[in-house]
């Protein structure tokens, strides 16, 4: 079973966001990395770019496939995890830790309410894979 930590918000696009103050840290879920297979390439935006909720902010590629990345909530990019350029395999090894992708200044905290809790995301996964 996929690992789904308690303290995060989840999107149906299989991204997670951890909110501390006004800052949201975003990555892809364990389920997402597992479905993709070996991640060999990650493309991320530049600091200062802004995105609307659910807009594509980059892509992650395995040997076989390309997957777009979507921000769960709107905001401006404060920081990008540059280490993924040289170590994309971290996305498979540590999707909730070392393989965070971007930090956003969260535009509207109310948008978090439309995301899934850990329990809701687990339910969503079980319906999606059946």
């Amino acid at each position: 079973m996929a690992n789904v930590p308690e303290n995060l918000h989840y999107s149906k696009d299989h991204e997670w966001i951890r909110v501390e103050g006004d800052t949201g840290t975003i990555g892809i879920t364990d389920h997402a990395q597992n479905s993709l297979g070996d991640v060999v390439y990650v493309e991320l935006p530049k600091v200062g770019e802004s995105f609307a909720a659910h807009e594509a902010f980059g892509s992650v590629e395995s040997v076989k496939a390309v997957s777009e990345l979507f921000v769960p909530v709107s905001g401006e990019v404060l920081e990008v995890n540059e280490s993924l350029q040289d170590e994309p395999e971290k996305v498979n090894a540590d999707p909730y830790g070392g393989a965070w992708m971007i930090r956003l200044r969260v535009g509207a905290k109310g948008e978090l309410d439309s995301l899934l809790s850990a329990a809701e995301y687990e339910d969503y996964l079980s319906t999606e894979t059946e």
Binding site: S62, V66, Q85
Partner: protein, 378 residues
């Protein structure tokens, strides 16, 4: 474990794939493993350094018997079947009158009146119809035996040593692109020294109902589940292995819109062997030169080229990528592309439209990967 979608065809190893954690996908109407739990990169690397095991039972087999078997197939295919001896196989193509490709295939010669054609899974029905439609009273008996056979490929430096544990047939005596009738673990088999990975190895054809037994015995003999043992490989690794070796994949590099010379397959196009379908068009193209040609390229900037992306030179869209992927062993991003003939030379730079971003690439020699001869272990 989810059940196989009922509209998909299955190989006799379907249950084995599911039991071993294969991730199943719809591959041209077949329910096939795209990868196993170790993942595509490890499957690819292990095939290069040790050995990989592949289920290729979805491939089609057509039996051709009769006094006219050789002249008939020679009339439909571009390579020269009369050059084959008993126990030998070659790569060839079923060609259209325009010199384009109905399918690429292997032709096996069992005897002067007995051939077997091994064709692509997704084109088996089309090939079967094509071949039957082109019969004009020759003394030939055709039989589609695809469902009777399983086909298992064991590929990599350890392949010979592993398979030899299961057969009395002296495998080292089988030359590349030759085969023997023998037994593997007591199961009557065609043991063929062929493959689609760029490694030494064997393809074993046997009765479909023996597939699981052979699969499991080969895994045991290859010490599956040890760090240096044989690994089962999915279609994703099969694709990256063939791409590193710059082998064509039907529907990508070749189809009914591409000619053999455009695809650099002039070496299977024997214009002097006598008439065959497409010979005239191909002879004309050889004399006049091709307008476009398949080239290998390496991506020179950050980014991965993918199938169907456009190739640009000086801002103009001049070609397309037929296969693009990361190359796990070479650790580069590579691909094959059609470009106008004037650009089809090593060192030529171009750009690829990677989802709206232009990424630099350079034409390089193919194959990208070539194994060291003599690397086979006894």
């Amino acid at each position: 474990m989810t059940a196989s979608p009922s509209h998909l065809k299955q190989t006799p190893l379907n249950a084995a794939h599911r039991r071993m954690g294969g991730r199943m996908v719809d591959f041209g109407g077949w329910d096939m493993p795209v990868q196993y739990p170790l993942g595509t990169v490890e499957e690819h690397l292990r095939t290069r350094t040790r050995t990989g095991l592949f289920d290729v039972s979805h491939m089609g087999e057509i039996d051709v018997r009769g006094a006219d078997a050789i002249p008939f197939i020679n009339r439909l295919c571009s390579n020269d079947v009369t050059k084959l001896v008993d126990g030998q196989a070659h790569y060839s193509a079923l060609t259209t009158p325009a010199g384009t490709v109905v399918d690429d295939l292997l032709v096996y010669r069992f005897g002067p009146e007995h051939l077997m054609l091994v064709v692509n899974a997704s084109t088996t029905e089309k090939d079967w119809d094509w071949i039957n439609e082109h019969l004009t009273g020759e003394a030939v008996e055709l039989k589609n035996v695809s469902a009777d056979y399983c086909q298992i490929a064991l590929q990599g430096p350890d392949a010979l040593g592993i398979l030899q544990q299961l057969t009395a047939t002296p495998l080292a005596e089988i030359k590349y692109y030759h085969f023997r009738n023998g037994e593997v673990d007591g199961v009557p088999s065609i043991i063929s020294r062929t493959g689609y990975t760029g490694e030494d190895g064997f393809e074993v054809y046997a009765a479909a109902d023996q597939a699981e037994r052979l699969w499991n015995r080969i895994l045991d003999a290859g010490q599956y589940d040890t760090p240096e043992g044989v690994v089962p490989c999915g279609l994703a690794a099969r694709n990256t292995l063939r791409l590193e070796s710059a082998m064509a994949l039907y529907g990508h590099e070749i189809d009914e819109t591409t000619t053999l010379f455009e695809a650099n397959l002039g070496w299977i196009c024997k214009l002097n062997k006598g008439d065959f379908t497409g010979r005239e068009a191909l002879a004309r193209q050889k004399a006049e030169g091709v307008k476009r040609r398949l080239v290998g390229f390496e991506v020179t900037e950050r980014g991965i080229a993918r199938d169907e992306q456009d190739v640009l030179i000086d801002g103009a869209r001049v070609g397309r990528v037929t296969s693009g992927s990361p190359a796990p062993y070479l650790k580069k991003n590579i691909g094959l592309a059609y470009v106008p003939a004037e650009y089809a030379h090593e060192g030529q730079q171009f750009e690829i439209d990677v989802r709206g971003r232009l990424v630099g690439a350079r034409v390089v020699a193919t194959p990208f990967y070539k194994r060291e001869r003599g690397a086979t272990k006894p």
